[in-house]
């Protein structure tokens, strides 16, 4: 039954995609612009008539061509401002990875401590509540000014935005470990370190990984915006560069790539989550 259902769902997805493409094609059909009626041939030539122009929303075929063009040679390097999509994605992933790793290193121990001690929880809570809702990009000018390096600033912004969900989830997970288990541990006179790693960590793991999954999603959202601001390399810079040229097919291509990579990252954490989930 579930196999049939899956097949049906896949067919429906395909159908939806086909309808989407059809509507897109229909909506972007080339309209003859007659704004140049009556103008001289020379003027028309200067306005780029007859040549392929990039204005208007591109039809699917044009976007498809962008896909083929970029994916057929993903690792070219034509100077510091023009690199292949593979290289750009690698730069973005490296930044996200580094910022995220730093956040994990800080958030997990701190979250643990906050979760285990009601005093620390009360003490840290106001700071977390104030810092959490700040848009990561609002940090950018401050980071640029004080860190004096644009790529470190990018990593810092990833760090500062991905730390909160992890911190809060870790604290919450640690704080809500079942009393019974802790009591059993106490009865058996387990030392605190052993208690932390063998009782609390496995019990809180699903919540912690959920926090990491949310954080990664946010980090990937932020990197694109951050790279549009600081430029240089990365998928965000790619989008910005193509937007400058108003080359929408390439922008759409990049948007799809961002979505695919984001989905990939989410799948990884989804698998990790399955791994640590337990049934009571």
């Amino acid at each position: 039954m579930s196999k049939v259902l899956r097949l049906k769902a896949a067919l429906l997805s395909l159908l939806l995609f086909a309808v989407f493409l059809g509507v897109w094609q229909f909506a972007t059909q080339a309209k003859e612009s007659n704004s140049l009626a009556g103008a001289s041939a020379e003027y028309a030539a200067l306005m780029g008539k007859g040549a392929e122009k990039t204005d208007g929303f591109p039809p699917p075929a044009k976007v498809g061509r962008a896909f083929v063009e970029y994916l057929s040679d993903p690792f070219y390097d034509k100077g510091p401002n023009d690199k292949g999509i593979g290289i750009q994605l690698a730069h973005s992933l490296a930044r996200v990875g580094l910022g995220f790793l730093l956040a994990v290193i800080v958030a997990l121990p701190l979250g643990f401590a906050i979760g285990m001690s009601p005093l620390l929880f009360q003490a840290f809570n106001p700071f977390i509540q104030v810092l959490k809702p700040i848009s990561p990009l609002a940090w950018m000018p401050l980071a640029l000014y004080s860190l004096k390096d644009s790529s470190i600033s990018g990593i810092f912004v990833i760090f500062i935005c991905s730390i909160w969900p992890m911190l809060i989830n870790t604290a919450f997970g640690v704080a809500s470990v079942r009393r019974d288990w802790l009591n059993v541990a106490r009865t058996l006179e387990v030392n605190p370190l052993r208690k932390a790693f063998l009782v609390i960590l496995p019990a809180a793991a699903p919540t912690i990984v959920t926090g990491m999954r949310i954080s990664m999603g946010i980090a990937w959202l932020v990197i694109v915006a951050a790279e549009m601001l600081v430029g240089g390399t990365g998928i965000g810079y790619f989008v910005w560069n193509e937007w400058n040229n108003l080359a929408l097919p390439n922008v759409i291509f990049a948007v799809v790539m961002i979505g695919l990579v984001g989905m990939g990252l989410d799948l990884i954490f989804g698998a990790l989550q399955k791994l640590v989930t337990y049934r009571e």
Partner: protein, 447 residues
């Protein structure tokens, strides 16, 4: 001993640490020169007398001064020193130079594919940057060694308005003219600035010639730029997208953005900026003073490369080729057809006319002091600078006119003899000697 900040009110500029020179700068220069001389003299003496004992005998036999005279008659010490100062190996070879993807940057970009940087022994990476504020920050952070900047930016940065004060210099002007006022298509029939109250205009940066020229133009038509219209800072590459979206009514922007708006049929060229001030500076090649001091040879090499590139860019014959080289994604990322119209001056104005203005943009590198004077006068007029403005002081510290002359002569160009000239902005003459009176003469101002 570090160079003192000349904009620090407590700094002593007219005396040096040893007391023999009129300023610390001169003191430092004299020391470096003396050191250079010694190095060269030592090298020559070593070559003449491989044995130290032999040299001693010679010197004690004829006396040091006679020896000096005899040797300098056959060895041109002066020339050697000059060569050592100028053509020395660059201290820093791998440079990062920032630019904004606009045609104003043509000379500094073209020097890369044409190999002008390489010929001077430099390995320059051209870094495309998202906006002027970021350029400023990256130069202040020393991520960039030198950069494309708007002509008023080094003045503002040196004076510490809009950022921390950091002495920054203009080596050359990148381009003159080459900007335009572009309006959205819906204003096709509304060409009189008197009716523009309530408009939203985009400018690339506060400290830009665009801001100053647009303010001047509006004020001359009785529109107060501070109260009657809205001026928004929008990075040049994003201007067309904003015009298309209807966020703004128009902009005074750099090329190729203006022509791109026409090409995409979202706007038309109202006037070219040369119709406001023919020969106005726009962008410059800027370098932090600290970098110049630490890397004099790199500085000289950069100067020669940029000047050669500017001379190349001035020749109308080269313009179509430039359009081709600048078009790809690594540089401007714009259609070649647009760049060609900008650079050759034969363009569609968006209203159905073909105009032919070969002097639409030019790449005259000479950093006239008078340009800095005018910029300062307008910064004062619109309240960016408060109080008394030391025109001469600031212009001479920021605009490296003397160096420009020296290196222009070195690469076989003929620099102008004067350092100032009078010019007309919208028919009104600007005399640099009477800059303050000029500011006072305007009816619309914010002083």
């Amino acid at each position: 001993m570090a160079l003192q900040n000349p904009f620090d009110p407590n700094a002593v500029l007219h005396r040096c640490s040893c007391g023999q020179h009129t300023s610390q700068v001169e003191h430092e220069l004299a020391q470096t020169e003396a050191l250079n001389q010694r190095v060269i003299q030592t090298t020559v003496m070593k070559a003449l007398f491989p044995e130290d004992a032999e040299r001693r005998r010679f010197l004690s036999a004829v006396g040091a001064s006679t020896a000096w005279a005899a040797i300098s008659s056959i060895v041109p010490f002066g020339t050697l020193e000059a060569m050592a100062q100028d053509k020395g190996a660059p201290e820093k070879k791998d440079l990062k130079v920032g630019f904004i993807p606009i045609t104003c940057a043509s000379p500094l970009i073209m020097a890369d594919p044409l190999g002008f940087y390489n010929k001077e022994g430099l390995n320059v990476s051209m870094m495309k940057t998202a906006g002027w504020a970021l350029i400023r920050d990256k130069v202040l952070n020393k991520e960039y060694d030198a950069s494309h900047m708007l002509a008023p930016m080094p003045i503002a940065i040196s004076m510490g308005i809009g950022s921390n004060a950091a002495p920054t210099n203009v080596m050359t002007i990148q381009n003159i003219n080459g900007q335009a006022i572009v309006l959205a298509m819906k204003h096709k029939t509304n060409r009189d600035p008197k009716n523009w109250k309530g408009f939203k205009f985009a400018i690339p940066f506060e400290f830009s010639i665009h801001n100053l020229l647009l303010r001047y133009y509006l004020a001359e038509h009785g529109v107060n730029p501070d109260t009657d219209v809205q001026l928004r800072v929008v990075p040049p590459p994003e201007m067309v997208a904003n015009l298309r979206a209807g966020n703004i009514d128009g902009f005074l922007g750099p090329d190729p953005v203006n022509q791109r708006a026409v090409f995409d049929e979202v706007g038309f060229i109202h006037i070219l900026s040369r119709e406001i001030w023919d020969g106005h500076p726009c962008c410059s090649f800027a370098i932090p003073t600290e970098f110049v001091k630490q890397n004099p040879n790199t500085f000289a090499a950069l100067y020669r490369a940029i000047l050669k590139s500017s001379a190349m860019a001035r020749d109308p014959k080269n313009r179509p080729i430039m359009a081709e080289v600048l078009a790809p994604a690594n540089y401007l990322n714009q259609p070649k057809a647009v760049l060609e119209q900008v650079l050759t001056g034969k363009f569609a104005d968006g209203l159905g006319n073909v105009r032919n203005v070969p002097e639409r943009v030019d790449f005259d590198p000479f950093p006239w002091y008078s340009m800095a004077y005018w910029i300062l006068s307008q910064l004062k007029r619109w309240g960016y600078v408060k109080g008394e403005v030391k025109y001469k002081d600031i212009a001479e510290r920021v605009y490296l006119l003397t160096d420009a002359k020296k290196y222009m002569a070195e690469v076989g160009q003929t620099p102008p003899k004067e350092t100032m000239k009078k010019f007309k902005v919208m028919g009104k003459e600007f005399d640099p000697a009477k800059a303050d009176a000029y500011v006072a003469s305007f009816a619309i101002k914010k002083v």
